[in-house]
Amino acid sequence: MTVFVIRRLMQSILVLFAMSAIVFFGVYVVGDPVEILVSHEADEAERARVAAALGLDRPVWVQYFAFLENALGGDLGKSFVFGIPAIQLILQRMPATFELVIVSFVIAVGLGIPLGMYAGYRPNSAGAKTIMAGSILGFSLPTFWVGLMLIMIFAVEMQILPAGGRGPVGSFLGMQSSLFSWTGLGHLFLPALNLALFKLALVIRLARAGMRETLLLDYVKYARAKGLAMRRVVFVHVLKNIMIPIVTVLGLELGSQIAFSVVTETVFAWPGMGKLIIESIDKLDRPVIVAYLLVIVVIFVLINLVVDVLYSVLDPRVRLAAKA
């Protein structure tokens, strides 16, 4: 077990190094930030001064090792645009993104499991067919377009919800979040719903498939033979079993949800990490791009590692396969 964890950990670190190199070398051969930061009238001396200030005059590989050394110390360079440390900039934006991701997850699971279970329980009913058609739409509709439609319907036509931005945050037990202010919740609702749609479609599919498979199993028939009400059979016997695969898949999807928030944040002008990265790509703010990508890669590697290890703890067969 310990061997397995250590091996997975080593792999994760290797992936991290590989990604950092790809990201750094890639990003640092694109464009020229001096062109963007310095006005067109500036002379050569001015340009050289800016380039030196940014450390751009040194060879790329020297820059990389300096970067690596600093990165290990938590310093990923200063934003060209904002002039503050890139990592600090990202950490500032992180709570907004996490808030969005978590609320969207709650929506996806809270709506998806009951809908999927119903669709699996009565697969031939009109309701089930509607739900499944909706789930296919959820997979097919590009997130950004759904976001635009939501804005058009709820903000432009009906004018009941704001079109974008992150309203005021409330404070509760020392935590700052939109969840603790009514206006903030109003701002949060549409983006969270938008971000939830794809996962909602996924959860519906998983819950439906699980429901259909589990209903055919002997222990469900046996539970009914004990004279249990269908309500108890479904919500205790079936639900507990289908939660295992759903939780496993969702654990892995958490990371992709953070990545997908790039789109939703841009559509709804939500001031999170995703909007920041798009703006930074636009302005070639390389330290921020690199820092964002590394933060995301770290989050991903961490999530994958935790899910892998948890899974091997839960399932002895996986553990044996990993040793072999």
Partner: protein, 307 residues
């Protein structure tokens, strides 16, 4: 050699059987009316894209045809030149219908081009990984696993941040995002096929790996490849649209549907919905019908689900 070859490989000499098989696939496919409607949708979209220059009332990129005074016309309005803009015009006075037809052409073109290249690359890598086995196989599949553990939109974002902009960069990014799916699919079916006796027989006849893989193994990997290919193409189109919407996709000079939608965003807030909505509907039609066709193909071709 020919006679011996025929005797050992009835499969190669049996196009008739394969034909009957495809006929069966078509029959089962046609059982679902939704799938047929989706197939009609795919054909419609492809025709619209291919024939865009003939169908479009206006060439939206020919500046001489633009009428800047006729900008932001509502759907159904008549232009000063006298013809009707069924879907309205955009801020430059471009006919939206024409813009959508040309945009569809670009979206579909990028999606299909990247799909074909990714398929060719992934298929070749997957086949040889399966054939080589051992460390080569393990190494390739490890790369595939790592890449697939990152969501496509993130990988594409990283690549475009690294590569910069342009049509060929987008195609390259989409290829890199997709090849791993094809490689994994082909490898899985190829491993099964490689264990069958006809491959052992082919090896006994001292055929080279390329011949064995492409002439004997590959045809048997086609059904799952077809399913993955269909669904991946839909993904590629959606991803390209998303990236273009974010402003890091297709350049302004070659506006795909995603870019058209992004252009209309600012006007949407003032109630001029058509600039964003109609390209969106076209995009949705393309993606949803390809997805539905793929779903039905998967149900038919998956032996586990055979009724």
């Amino acid at each position: 050699m020919s006679a011996a070859h025929e005797a050992v490989f009835p499969a190669e000499a049996a196009p008739a059987r394969a034909e009957a098989n495809w006929r069966r696939v078509w029959r089962e496919f046609a059982e679902s009316r939704i799938a047929l409607a989706a197939l009609a949708g795919v054909i419609l979209v492809v025709l619209a894209a291919v024939l865009a220059p003939l169908l479009a009332p206006q060439n939206p990129y020919d500046l001489r045809q633009l009428d800047i005074l006729g900008n932001l016309l509502v759907p159904g309005a008549k232009s000063s030149a006298g013809y009707t803009h069924w879907l309205g015009t955009d801020d430059q006075g471009r006919d939206m219908l024409s813009g959508i037809l040309y945009g569809l052409r670009i979206s579909l073109g990028v999606g299909v081009a990247s799909g074909v290249i990714a398929l060719a690359a992934g298929m070749t890598i997957g086949l040889f990984a399966a054939y080589a086995g051992g460390r080569v196989d393990a190494f390739v599949m490890r790369i595939v696993d790592v890449q697939l553990s990152f969501p496509a939109v993130l990988v594409a974002l990283i690549l475009l941040a690294v590569l910069g902009r342009g049509a060929e960069k987008i195609v390259l990014a989409l290829v890199i995002v997709q090849w791993a799916y094809y490689a994994r699919t082909v490898r899985a079916s190829a491993l099964v096929e490689l264990n069958k006796e006809y491959v052992a027989a082919a090896r006994c006849l001292a055929f080279g790996p390329a011949r064995i893989l492409f002439r004997h193994v590959l045809p048997n990997c086609l059904p799952p490849l077809l399913v993955v290919g269909t669904i991946q193409t839909a993904h590629a189109i959606a991803l390209e649209a998303t990236l273009s919407y974010l402003g890091i996709g297709m350049p302004l000079t070659e506006p795909s549907l995603g870019r058209l939608i992004a252009n209309g965003y600012q006007y949407m807030l003032s109630g001029k919905y058509w600039i964003s909505v109609f390209p969106g509907v076209a995009l949705l039609l393309a993606i949803a019908s390809i997805n539905l066709v793929g779903d039905q193909l998967r149900d038919i071709l998956n032996p586990r689900l055979r009724r």
